[in-house]
Symmetry: C2
Subunit: 404 residues, 2 copies
C-alpha cells in the first residue's frame, strides 16, 4: 500500500478551502526589510504590558487552581456581567444568557456560520468585506452575495432588490453580515438612518444580521453611532465584539451577544469545537476591566491611531498620483484606495514587494471577484516613519504602472 492520498478523503467543503492571500503575503514579508502596510495587527505600543503582568501574577498567586483548570463553555460569568453593563446591553434587558465569550471574533464568525449555514445557503455581505469572515461563511458551504457600499455604508436599495431577486429564486438566505463601523477593508461607517433601515429589511425577509464590531471603540472624531443591535426589538442582531483592538489580540478574547436561543446554540457548538476559552486569559481580561483600566487604554489607543491615520492621509496626498482616490476613515485601522481602472493591484503587488513595500490588494475582499484596481493600506501596525516611507515607495510603484 503506498502513502495515503489524503486529498481523496477530504470532505467536499474542506477540499474547497484554500490558504488566504493575506496570509501568504504576511509570510513573505515577515523575514525581510519590506515596509508592510498589509497586516491588520495592532501596534504593540498600545498593549498595557505592565498592568497585564501585575494582574497575571496576582491571579496565579491567589487563584491558580481556577485559572489553570477547565472552565465553562459560556465563559467567565463576571466578565460577561461586566460586558453587559459596559456595552449597555443590560438596558436592553440582556442577561448573561445573551452573551458568550469566544476565542477571538473569528470563532464567533465560525460558530454563527456553523449554527446557521447549510451548504448552498446565501449570506449577504458588504462589497468589499473582511476576507476571513467570508472564508468562515464559505467553509460551511455558504454562497456569499455582495452589496455595494457608498460613504454611508451598505446601499439599502441594492440590498432590498438583491434580497427580492434571491427570494424569487427560492434560495435560502440566512443572514446579512456587516462591519458597521470603520469597515474592513473600506474604512466606511454605516449611517444612522441605514442602521434602522437594515433592521426593517432584515425583519421583512426574516433574516439575522451579523454585526461585526471590532473597531467601534476606536473612533478618532465625531459622535459615536449606536450599534444596529441597540435598535433591535426582534432578537435579529448577533453582535461580535473583541478585546483584540482595544487591549491586545494575543489573549484571544472576544464576545458574542444576541437572543437567548442563538447564544444557547452557539454555546453547544463551541463545546464540541474547543470546550472553553482559556480561563486564565478571561480572568486577565476581567481584572483589567474591573480595575477600570479599559476606557483609559482605549483613549490612549485612539491618540496613537489617529496620529498614524493623519500621517498616512498626508503621505497619500503627497506621494500618490492623480487618479488615485481614497477615503478618510473616522476610526479603525484602514484606508481603502481605488486606483485608475487600468491598474491591476494583484499584479502590482509583486513589483511593490521588490520595491520593499507591501499592501493587500483589494480583489480578495470582493465576493464578486471585482476590485482589481483597489488596495487596503493599514496604518495600525507600522511606525510613523514606516508609514511615510511605505506610502512614498508605493506612490512610485503606482506612478510607474500608470505609464505602462
Amino acid at each position: 500500500m503506498p502513502f495515503i492520498q489524503s486529498e481523496k478523503l477530504f470532505s467536499k467543503l474542506a477540499e474547497q478551502s484554500k490558504a488566504s492571500a493575506i496570509r501568504e503575503i504576511l509570510k513573505i514579508i515577515q523575514s525581510s526589510d519590506v515596509v508592510s502596510l498589509a497586516g491588520g495587527m495592532p501596534d504593540p505600543i498600545t498593549f498595557p504590558v505592565e498592568d497585564l503582568r501585575v494582574i497575571c501574577a496576582d491571579i496565579l498567586s491567589s487563584n491558580s487552581a481556577r485559572a489553570l483548570q477547565y472552565s465553562s463553555t459560556e465563559g467567565l460569568l463576571q466578565l460577561r456581567e461586566y460586558l453587559l453593563k459596559w456595552l449597555g446591553l443590560d438596558k436592553k434587558g440582556y442577561k448573561t444568557e445573551n452573551i458568550m465569550i469566544s476565542s477571538g471574533s473569528q470563532q464567533g464568525l465560525d460558530l454563527v456560520s456553523k449554527a446557521l449555514v447549510d451548504p448552498g445557503d446565501i449570506v449577504i455581505a458588504e462589497l468589499p468585506s473582511y476576507l476571513a469572515a467570508l472564508n468562515a461563511f464559505k467553509s460551511y458551504g455558504a454562497e456569499v452575495v455582495g452589496i455595494p457600499m457608498d460613504e454611508n455604508g451598505m446601499q439599502m436599495d441594492s440590498l432590498e432588490s438583491t434580497l427580492q431577486e434571491i427570494t424569487n429564486k427560492e434560495k435560502k438566505i440566512k443572514f446579512i453580515y456587516t462591519i458597521s463601523n470603520f469597515q474592513n477593508p473600506a474604512g466606511v461607517t454605516m449611517s444612522l438612518p441605514r442602521r434602522k433601515e437594515i433592521l426593517e429589511i432584515a425583519s421583512k425577509y426574516n433574516l439575522f444580521i451579523l454585526e461585526d464590531n471590532p473597531y467601534d471603540k476606536l473612533r478618532f472624531e465625531g459622535e459615536p453611532l449606536p450599534p444596529i443591535q441597540s435598535f433591535d426589538q426582534e432578537g435579529r442582531v448577533i453582535n461580535l465584539g473583541t478585546f483584540s483592538k482595544i487591549l491586545c489580540p494575543g489573549l484571544r478574547l472576544a464576545w458574542i451577544s444576541g437572543n437567548k436561543e442563538i447564544i444557547e446554540k452557539v454555546v453547544i457548538l463551541k463545546q464540541a469545537t474547543d470546550l472553553c476559552t482559556p480561563i486564565l486569559n478571561q480572568m486577565i481580561g476581567y481584572e483589567y476591566c474591573a480595575k477600570d483600566y479599559i476606557d483609559k487604554n482605549i483613549d490612549s489607543n485612539i491618540s496613537v491611531y489617529r496620529e498614524k491615520r493623519d500621517v498616512m492621509l498626508e503621505s497619500l496626498e503627497k506621494h500618490f498620483p492623480e487618479g488615485a482616490v481614497w477615503n478618510k476613515p473616522a476610526g479603525g485601522f484602514f484606508v481603502f484606495v481605488t486606483l485608475p481602472e487600468n491598474i491591476d493591484a494583484d499584479e502590482m503587488l509583486y513589483e511593490a514587494i521588490e520595491e520593499k513595500v507591501a499592501y493587500v490588494s483589494g480583489s480578495s475582499f470582493f465576493a464578486n471577484g471585482k476590485g482589481k484596481n483597489t488596495m487596503r493600506l493599514s496604518f495600525c501596525y507600522p511606525s510613523i516613519e514606516d508609514i511615510k516611507e511605505g506610502v512614498k515607495r508605493l506612490g512610485k510603484v503606482i506612478e510607474k504602472n500608470l505609464k505602462k
Copy 2:
C-alpha cells in the same frame, strides 16, 4: 413582526446538536456538597503554579510585544520543534510541517472532522468512547459506528467484519477513532499486536486512524507502549496530544501531528475557525518544556494519580456489591464499572445525586445506545477522602437498586 424564531434558521446539523449529559451534570453539582466522581478534570495539586507564574512574568517582561500579538496559525515554531523531539517524531522524519498547535485536543477533533467528514460519512469508534469526540464527529454529520473492546482494546475481528459490511453497503468510511491508552471511559489500553493490526486494516480499507492520546504519559506501572503512529509508514495516523493532563488544561494547549497534506489542510481550516491559539499560552508552554520541567512534573503527577487509583480500587472492593465488575486501569483518569443487567445507571443517577454522589452513566459513551448498566468513575479530581466517601455512598445506592 414578532420576535425572531431562531430555530427556523438553524442549519440542519446545528439543529441536531444538543447539550451533553456530562455538561448538564457538572452544572448541577458545581454548587453543592455532592462528591463528584463525574468530571474528568485534573487535580489542581498537579499544576506547577509557581513555575508558571515566574515564566509568565518573564515573558511579559522580556517579550510582551510578541506574547500579546496575533501569531501564526500553525503555532509557535519552537514549541513544535520541541514536541517533535520530545515525542520522537523527528526520528520518523517528521518536521514542523507535520505538527500544528491546537486550542486543546477538542479543537483537533473538530478540525479533523471538518477536514474529512461529509454528512452521512461513517466514523468508526470504540464502544464506549469519549462523548465530546463523538459530538465533534456528529456535528459535521458523521454517523458513528462502534466496535466492542476487550481488555486488549478494540476487537480487530469485529472491526474488520464491520468495515467489510459497511463497504458492501457503499457507504464512505473516513477514519477509525481510537484512544489507544487508558481509554476514556473504559480505562483500557490497546495491546501491541493490535496496534500493528489496526494499521494493516486501515491500510486495506484506505482509512485514516485518528489516535487520541491524552493520557499516554500517565502510566502508573508496566512498560509504555509505542503509539500506533510510530508504526505508521503510510501517513495514515493523525495523532492528538495535549498538555491538559500533564501540565494544566487552562492554557488550552494541545497538538496534532500527521502527514503534511492533512496538517496543511487542518491549518487552513483552523485559520477560518480562530486564526491562532493564544501565543502567550504557547510561549508559557514552550518555556516550561525548554526548562526541562515537564518530565519531572509528569513523574509527580503519576504519583498523585496512582495513589488515587489505588484508593478507588480499594474502596470499590470494600463498598461495591457482588455482581458489579470493573477494570484496573494501568494509567489515566478513569475506572469503568459494569453493574448487573437490571440496573439502569441513567435512572440511578438522580438517586445518587440525592445521596450526594455523582458519576457519569455509561450509556452516553455508547454510539449504539447500549451500556445502560455501566458507569464511569473518575479518580482524577476528587481528594482521597472524597474518593473513599463517594464510592461508599455509591455502593449503598447500588445495593438499594439491586434489591428493587
